[in-house]
Symmetry: C4
């Protein structure tokens, strides 16, 4: 019973996250009149602010992962059993797709779309590696020293990462897959998804490895 | 006597909120030279920042609802008696109208205006449903886990919601009605008000239902 | 001896505040290529962020008034003796002028300038009344319920007030007078200063009156 | 052993800082279509947000200096032995250069570059003096009264300082030297580096002197 509620929190939270990401992208694109910088500025501020709020709302229920890479990291660190992790990821994927469709409905767009925005090549892949490394660093670092600040830190990180990575920092396999279903500002062609997801998982694993070493030493000091 | 002061807090707080919403909309429109994205960016940042401050100022006196949907929710949850709720809503409406007029006076515009900006259709209605669902989620979620953070969370939520909803997130029946009295950036034609208010109330009720279920389970864990 | 340090804190803090206000105005004007909305957005974000930091730095030493209206309010409320208040205001004025000159020196502009930007009329005066009413409300309101949040609240308030008042919210007699000494984005012609200062003092007095009533009732509840 | 981890924290943290500064500069330049104000707005928001996060992640390990001027100040105040300070500065320089190269790789640019952006003259030097004075004031001031707020204060300060100084506030000798290795928005010609570094060190020393006096008096009150 309680399990059902945790999965509901991951589903609804991830849906709202995607509604924010895709919705603010559509709004930015519509209003900015071709000035992509202003669209991305609005998109990055809205996403960061939205994330802070969503993690505060759903965190006490499910941990507010909203992200298979975060769930995978929790499983590696034995904070979540494997079956629970798989159910979390399924909930995130279902919520992410629903969130894209909610955004389309809000903006009066066809609900079912496919993106044709190609995002390929080694620079994009490396960007996603760095983006996810930084996201996991943010969660592990603040989670260790100041857990109450983690939601704000994640929001600030994502606002920055939209700008400092060439890929605008997807950093989330569920978000990446769902964004293949929107042919708007936030879209990514399905063919570009595998590279992004692989790079994200590699970045997450690298961050877990590096910070396990970095913080273990500190504990032993 | 104390009652009078609580109503005064709702009136003055809602007036200042509308002065911020409408005033920053006029300023954005005047300066942005047709670039609506920049006007909305300024409007959303000013409104979010202003809300954080206003909730902090008036919260200890009246709870800083500034919003009939929030007051209705408090009445449903028996945090406020029905008579008190009605008086709160009257105070909010009076304050909201005064705030629009204060904004007009500050910008040297005719005080009495009527908007002719039509905002209709199912997409706009669905946007207001989602916007208010999210606002009530923010209040209930942070109010449960971290009440001191609620004012900041509401400000961040509204900044995001101006962008991720197609309606720019009115999410407040008093604000909606008062904004029919300004023929500026923030205006809404009176004919569009009923749809917005109905969608807002539906979104608020849905949020109260969903989060009562979600958080009850947690408490019983 | 300690007195000297408190006056030094008011002087240096107000100087840095004006360096931020005038400097970010010049930068915005130079870079924005005629788009005043973007210049004001940068100006308002920089000023708000700078204020938060400056109040944190100097607050524990002098209270970080940086504003004769705030000092006057403290004197009315007997938090500061009259002689101390006069010395504070002198320190603020000296610092404000120095800050304008620092900004000019940083941007390679002639140090001595006079503004010819007329800012007159009842709408501008009413704007300054509202702006200062809101600033004092912010200080009194958060100072009563959550004093540690006051610096952040003042920064957020000013960011919002740059946008929702037609005058871009000077809300500070020392800042107003000093800004007559810059012929840049932030300037105000000397002839417009008396109206602004009078409106600011009226707004401050109105806020002290209203909130004394509002918060006294609460205390007696 | 623990020493190695502290140096690793300074290296990786400074690398990520430069990736944010240079990467968001490149993104801003690419998207803004010649509107430098929008590019700087994105650059300043991303850098400020990124700094808050990075200081939270690495602060508990190494203090998160990321800046030879900060390390020098710590050495002057005997918070760090001289040998440790030299090792910190070496780690910061190595990390800063790596961060620039990471940014180039993310954006598919040639890794090895040299800037030809001249930034000279007394106004630029004075700007760096003021910028670094303010940064050290932020660290000393909040470190004394509210150490938990220092990371946020540094982020807010840098966002403001990008705008209120004519040099866009490098305020960091390691950052300055590394930015000579990028021919993008954030670049600085190698020939302009010595002036910047000298002004930064002078500003840091002036701040240490002034605030030692200002805060000592308070302690004795």
């Amino acid at each position: 019973m309680t399990q059902a509620r945790r999965f509901a929190a991951e589903t609804v939270g991830t849906a709202l996250l995607l509604a924010v990401v895709v919705g603010s992208g559509i709004m930015g694109e519509r209003l900015a009149g071709g000035n992509v910088a202003i669209a991305l500025l609005a998109n990055s501020i809205a996403t960061g602010a939205g994330l802070v709020v969503l993690i505060h709302i759903f965190g006490p229920v499910s941990g507010a992962h909203f992200n298979p890479a975060v769930t995978m990291m929790a499983a590696i660190r034995r904070e979540l059993p494997l079956a629970g992790a798989i159910a979390y990821i399924a909930a995130q994927l279902a919520g992410a797709v629903a969130g894209v469709w909610i955004a389309h409905a809000m903006f009066g767009e066809p609900v079912l779309q496919l993106s044709d925005t190609l995002r390929g090549g080694p620079a994009q892949g490396f960007s996603e590696f760095v983006a996810t490394f930084g996201l996991i660093a943010t969660i592990l670092g603040t989670g260790r020293s100041l857990p109450g600040f983690t939601p704000v830190a994640v929001g600030l990180y994502i606002t920055a990462a939209y700008w400092f990575t060439a890929s605008t920092s997807f950093a989330n396999p569920a978000v990446t897959l769902a964004r293949s279903l929107t042919d708007s500002f936030a879209g990514i062609a399905l063919v570009s998804v595998p590279l992004f997801v692989a790079a994200q998982l590699a970045g997450a694993i690298a961050a877990v490895g590096f910070f396990s070493w970095l913080f273990k030493a500190e504990a032993a000091r």
